[in-house]
């Protein structure tokens, strides 16, 4: 069975050949090298050079418009995914650099992003360093995102080229920044919180983001994307960033329209949101989201528990995730194995579950712990699921 079929069957609550696997971010040079992938400096090296070159922004855009070059950039992670049997490779439709700065860039959402080398194994990490917009006027003077900008669809098509080249062993899934995370990060949390006090202004900002994401999803789905990832953290360890009332007023009406547009074009939506989402979980489900990642296991809320949530929403939603990143960096192999086994045993029968960490694979995750997870999937993840007590 190929990866797109495997993933889509699971999302449709059917049983494929084995439980699909996914990671929203894989930043760990040690593990990549272990599987024979030599991580390149990629964006890090590119930006370092570009910073000192005239016409750097034109050069950068030319590179992003070059489908072959973009495919070359994506190949490393797609090839790694193929080798470790992760079913999804991510192409991107937004979050592109707009302005190059020292050690990083300001992206098109106004987020100041910097690249850093992890001292341990040299893994390059893209970190958020604050918002560029001081206030609403600043935001209004910024050139808004254009969903028809060709760099977006080219990135997806480059991913399609790779998927075809790999004979669909990896499913190319485009990701787009959505409403909340990119919005607050463009301002920084302090300025964003101030903006929330001004209803007309914050509505305009959310509507701009909603309109862009909706159009982007339509374009991707019309061009053959069968699954689309929305990056949109709504919460953190202790709860939601803003009130459920604000989410219901500004965010979920758009998420509902986005899901409807995707479904109309035979596409599915995978929402990635960190944090404790308990207070808006019903809203996420009723908006029409097909799959949710990562169901963070390290929140402070004991009721935000994937097994309890699955009991209630298992027939309406595909769960993607939940292996604790702390466990993956510090836990005992036996507890990682037991928990991974439990996830498969309880959540995978009947489809509706995709195996994944409960956040991401960061440089602190060790090879033996990662292999323990993969071993369990290999041993117990084939359908029909048979795990004895």
């Amino acid at each position: 069975m190929d990866a797109p079929t495997r993933v889509l069957m699971a999302i449709n609550h059917d049983e494929p050949d084995r439980v699909p696997a996914f990671e929203s971010a894989f930043t760990n040079n040690t593990i990549m090298r272990h599987y024979g992938i030599k991580p390149s400096a990629g964006l890090f090296a590119g930006l370092k050079i570009l910073r000192f070159i005239p016409f750097r922004h034109s050069i950068m855009r030319s590179a992003l418009k070059n489908r072959k070059l973009v495919a070359k950039g994506l190949k490393e992670i797609f090839e790694f995914s193929r080798r470790v049997k992760l079913d999804i490779g991510i192409s991107v439709a937004s979050l592109f650099p707009r302005k190059i700065i020292k050690n990083g860039f300001i992206d098109e959402y106004g987020r100041i992003m910097k690249l850093e080398k992890y001292s341990g194994d040299g893994t390059i990490i893209l970190g958020y360093y604050g918002g560029f917009f001081k206030d609403f006027d600043d935001y209004e003077s910024w050139e808004q995102l254009d969903p028809n900008d060709e760099i977006r669809i080219i990135n997806f098509l480059a991913g399609q080229d790779l998927e075809n080249e790999m004979k669909h062993e990896v499913f190319n899934v485009p990701a787009v920044g959505a409403l909340m995370e990119c919005t607050w990060e463009g301002f920084g949390l302090e300025n964003f919180s101030r903006l929330l006090a001004h209803r007309k202004q914050i509505k305009k900002v959310f509507d701009d983001r909603g309109e862009f994401t909706l159009e982007m999803v339509k374009i991707l789905a019309e061009n053959g994307a069968r699954l689309i990832i929305l990056w949109d953290d709504y919460g953190f360890k202790n709860g939601l960033f803003m009130s459920p009332k604000n989410y219901r007023q500004y965010v979920f009406p758009w998420i509902k329209r986005i899901c409807e547009a995707a479904h109309k074009n035979d596409s599915k939506i995978l929402l990635h949101s960190d944090g404790d989402l308990m207070q808006i979980f019903e809203d996420i489900v009723s908006s029409g989201v097909d799959a949710l990642n990562p169901i963070e296991p390290t929140t402070a809320n004991p009721d935000y528990n994937i097994f309890k949530l699955h009991e209630k929403y298992g027939d309406k939603l595909t769960f993607v995730g939940n292996i604790s990143p702390v466990m993956l960096s510090q836990g005992k192999i036996s507890e990682i194995e037991e928990y991974s086994k439990k996830l498969i045993k309880v959540l995978a029968p009947g489809g509706g579950y995709i195996f994944s960490s409960g956040h991401s694979i960061n440089p602190a995750v060790t090879i033996d712990r990662w292999e323990a997870v993969m071993r369990i999937r290999e041993k117990y993840g084939n359908y029909p699921i048979k795990i004895d007590e």
């Binding site: 006090a197 202790n238 939601l240 803003m242 602190a364």
Partner: protein
């Protein structure tokens, strides 16, 4: 009577997160001759109430931050009227995000709440190495260090700081409290610290106890 009503309005502006009116209201109260210490008192009461609303999940992170921004705006007007010993008279706290971690949201919220609670803060910023913390302890004689850590890969840095404090002969002179997404009390103890707080409000409560100890 009018005097009390206006002071009450200042408290309500904090609770209502009214960042647009706080500066002029505080200034008007000062111009009317009210004791700055009384204004500080109602601002703190307002922040305490915001903390309670946050813990009851009636307020959310952006509300907590907006309350902090409102408090900060009020303090820019009020601070010049307060005597030096009326600012941060409960003691000194060192706050930092550990080396390798650039996240400062949690740390900054804690700082706002600690200032409101009457502490003087030495903010060492993000990506803070152990030697910078040691230098700050020697210089300020702070009794409590509050460390923030969001990234799983920087958890071990907490232990490095504890070990560096031991080597410098300072470990028994300070209490260390930690907070952040990947942490809990078990990990905090494993890393050799004294305490863990679940969020900024919890952090103030725990630091109050550590300062008494």
């Amino acid at each position: 009577m009018v005097f009390n009503l206006t002071l009450n309005k200042i408290k309500e502006l904090i609770i209502d997160l009214n960042v647009d009116e706080i500066k002029e209201t505080v200034q008007a109260e000062l111009d009317a001759g009210t004791d700055p210490k009384q204004i500080l008192q109602v601002l703190t009461e307002g922040m305490d109430e915001v903390g309670r609303l946050y813990e009851r999940k009636e307020y959310f992170l952006t509300d907590l931050i907006l309350a902090g921004e409102t408090m900060k705006d009020a303090m820019t007007v009020l601070n010049p009227y307060l005597k030096a010993d009326e600012q941060g008279n409960k003691g000194k706290i060192i706050c930092a995000t550990v080396k390798g971690d650039n996240h400062d949201i949690g740390k900054n919220i804690l700082i706002t709440m600690l200032i409101s609670a009457g502490y003087e803060i030495i903010d060492l910023g993000t990506n803070c190495p152990a030697n910078k913390i040691i230098k700050a302890i020697k210089k300020t004689k702070a009794k409590v260090i509050a460390l923030s850590c969001l990234l799983t890969m920087t958890i071990e840095e907490i232990k490095n700081i504890v070990d560096a404090l031991k080597s410098a002969g300072l470990r028994d002179k300070v209490k260390i409290i930690v907070g952040g997404a990947p942490l809990n009390m078990e990990i905090a103890k494993k890393m050799g610290t004294d305490d863990y707080a679940n969020d900024a409000i919890d952090g103030v409560r725990h630091i109050n106890i550590l300062m008494e100890g």
